[in-house]
């Protein structure tokens, strides 16, 4: 922490606080996982250190898979903190609401491609929401917040990942979620191929039938 100066709170999330700071002359984001008093200390430490270690690893592997993520500068497991590159840009959450139909399409197809690249390389993001996607000034979309991610090649994990994307679109962009999600799937299948993508879609339907009170569930 000693090299970090001028910390300003960017966002107090549920799990972590994000600070904007200066680190050796660079503009950085400090993600600090806060102690959660509601859960037993042993469980809390287990969860926080697990996520602090895995998040940078997954971000690194995502880069290798061709998905843009912020650069990692420093990790401190003892303090549950990660220092990473600050991406100047806008959240996709905001952009989608301001965009034209054509722009939305381009954005969503691009997002689908990113998810496809992750899955193709055995990576699961674990929290695909439009708040976790940032479009940089250069127009490229970065994925952030891999704290709930995992390395997993199973269809089940891929299905849940996409199902969460669908649910996030439904709750946050309910006016045009169907159009957005179908474009996401479009981009996704362009990377994975139609057959592989179809197997994931079938899995999504199965996951949805497992839930409580859904129309898709059999009588």
């Amino acid at each position: 922490m000693d090299k970090l100066t001028g910390q300003v709170l960017l966002k107090k999330g549920a799990e972590a606080s994000l600070y904007l700071a200066d680190w050796h002359g660079r503009k950085v984001v400090v993600k600090m996982r806060i102690l959660k008093k509601y859960r037993p200390q042993v469980l809390d430490e287990r969860i926080r250190s697990y996520r602090t270690v895995h998040e940078p690893q997954l971000m690194h592997e995502a880069k290798a898979a061709g998905v843009l993520t912020p650069l990692i500068y420093m990790v401190s497991v003892a303090e549950s903190l990660i220092v990473m590159e600050y991406i100047e840009g806008k959240q996709v959450k905001q952009l989608l609401n301001e965009a034209s139909k054509a722009e939305r399409r381009e954005l969503c197809v691009g997002i689908g491609e990113l998810i496809g690249k992750l899955h193709k390389n055995g990576l699961i993001h674990g929290d695909l929401t439009t708040s976790n996607m940032i479009q940089s000034r250069g127009g490229k979309v970065f994925l952030v917040d891999f704290g709930l991610g995992e390395k997993n090649v199973e269809l089940e994990a891929q299905g849940v990942d996409l199902h969460l994307m669908k649910r996030a679109l439904q709750s946050t962009h309910y006016r045009f979620w169907e159009e957005c999600f179908s474009n996401v799937l479009c981009g996704y299948s362009s990377v994975l191929g139609l057959d592989a993508a179809e197997r994931v879609y079938e899995k999504i339907r199965e996951i949805e039938r497992r839930g409580r009170y859904v129309d898709e569930r059999k009588q």
């Binding site: 107090k12 999330g13 549920a14 799990e15 959660k36 008093k37 509601y38 859960r39 037993p40 042993v42 469980l43 287990r46 969860i47 674990g126 929290d127 695909l128 929401t129 708040s131 709930l148 849940v160 969460l164 649910r167 996030a168 439904q170 709750s171 309910y174 996951i207 497992r210 839930g211 409580r212 009170y213 859904v214 129309d215 569930r217 009588q219």
Partner: protein, 344 residues
């Protein structure tokens, strides 16, 4: 048929609500001003295992007239004083819902007053708001059949997080039954687990599965049950560990929804709201986000007729009615499919 505007002007307008989604048959009577005049129910207790839908429905049919009478007597209201009949139209168990709906249709037809079908989950939230004074909360509704985090946005209660498989109450109940605990009247299985958990000292490591804003409890249940059969741990420690893991997961997703929506209130409802440890955890996150914390009183947190009656008042006042030929039950009626015109 009566005119809703006219009923609003007269003070003596009442709604009778019927609840029968699962194991409880409940009747509540509520004035149009929001006074709960009666809230009576009779619960079906299975001799073994979980709720058998057909047996529960048979129970409801047997007790319906008795519970109706109790409610009318307690409220000191004559059937002819009623202005509208509300019933829980879904989601829930088919045979149980159909029994309640049949009673509701019969009453409405006989008294020649309107019928209004109510979504059970919406009713849980609305009675919670009425009883605690919360205005626009993030609600955790956790019961034997439901586990979801909702908040109002643009005309509907949106689901921000929910279980991907079994409900929280179901997870605790099944574990309790596997451990040989018995459901007694006034002392449900969840209360038995809570009591044993207080004696727990050792935290046994179990799966902790949060996926985005959603959670999964089935793996946790399987793991806890496997350890139970293995017999290496005290039951008290397993109850404690099961509760700590499950409640931490629902608290984490509730906190995520709270941070995401930036609302100022947290409301806890459903049967599991009775659990003190869960209340404690949610109170902590509410405080951390400068939000107030509200727990629905137990009588109104478990399934009850009053919540249906009160939501019936809200719906009816806003022009909603359900003609008999459209009053079929909806087994899978999600909360986010229901328009709530009474919130602007």
């Amino acid at each position: 048929m009566r005119n809703p505007q006219k009923d609003q002007q007269t003070k003596q307008a009442y709604c009778l609500g019927i609840e029968s989604t699962a194991d409880d048959f409940g009747v509540g009577i509520c004035s149009f001003d929001g006074d709960i005049l009666a809230n009576k129910s009779d619960g079906y207790i299975p001799t073994e295992g979980g709720i058998h839908p057909r047996e529960a429905a048979r129970h409801h049919a047997e007790v319906a007239d008795k519970v109706l009478n109790h409610a009318l007597t307690a409220a000191k209201v004559k059937p002819s004083d009623l202005s509208v009949i509300a019933f829980s139209q879904g989601p829930g168990l088919g045979p149980c819902l159909r029994t309640g709906a049949t009673v509701a249709r019969a009453l409405a037809s006989y008294l020649d007053i309107p019928l209004v079908g109510i979504n059970h989950s919406v009713a849980h939230i609305e009675i919670g708001k009425l009883k605690t004074g919360a205005q626009d909360p993030v609600t955790l509704y956790a019961s034997g059949g439901n586990t979801m985090v909702t908040a109002f946005d643009s005309g509907r209660y949106r689901v921000f997080g929910e279980t991907l498989d079994i409900a929280l109450g179901n997870c605790l109940d099944v574990f309790a039954r596997e451990a040989g605990l018995k459901h007694k009247k006034g002392f449900p299985l969840g209360a038995a687990v809570e009591k044993l958990a207080l004696e727990g000292k050792r935290l046994v490591s179990l799966p902790y599965v949060v996926k985005g804003m959603d959670l999964s409890l089935s793996g946790l249940l399987t793991a806890a049950t496997a350890l139970l059969y293995k017999g290496d741990f005290r039951l008290e420690d397993l109850c404690y560990s099961l509760q700590e893991h499950a409640f931490s997961m629902v608290t984490e997703v509730t906190e995520r929804a709270l941070a995401h929506t930036e609302k100022r209130e947290v409301l806890l409802t459903g049967g599991v709201a009775a659990n003190k440890r869960l209340q404690q955890m949610l109170a902590v996150i509410a405080q951390e986000h400068d939000a107030s914390f509200h727990v629905v009183p137990l009588e109104f947190a478990t399934d009850n007729g009053a919540m249906i009656a009160w939501t019936g008042v809200l719906a009816y006042k806003h022009g909603l009615q359900t003609p008999v030929d459209e009053s079929f039950v909806r087994l899978r009626w999600r909360v986010d499919k229901v328009d709530v015109p009474w919130i602007s």
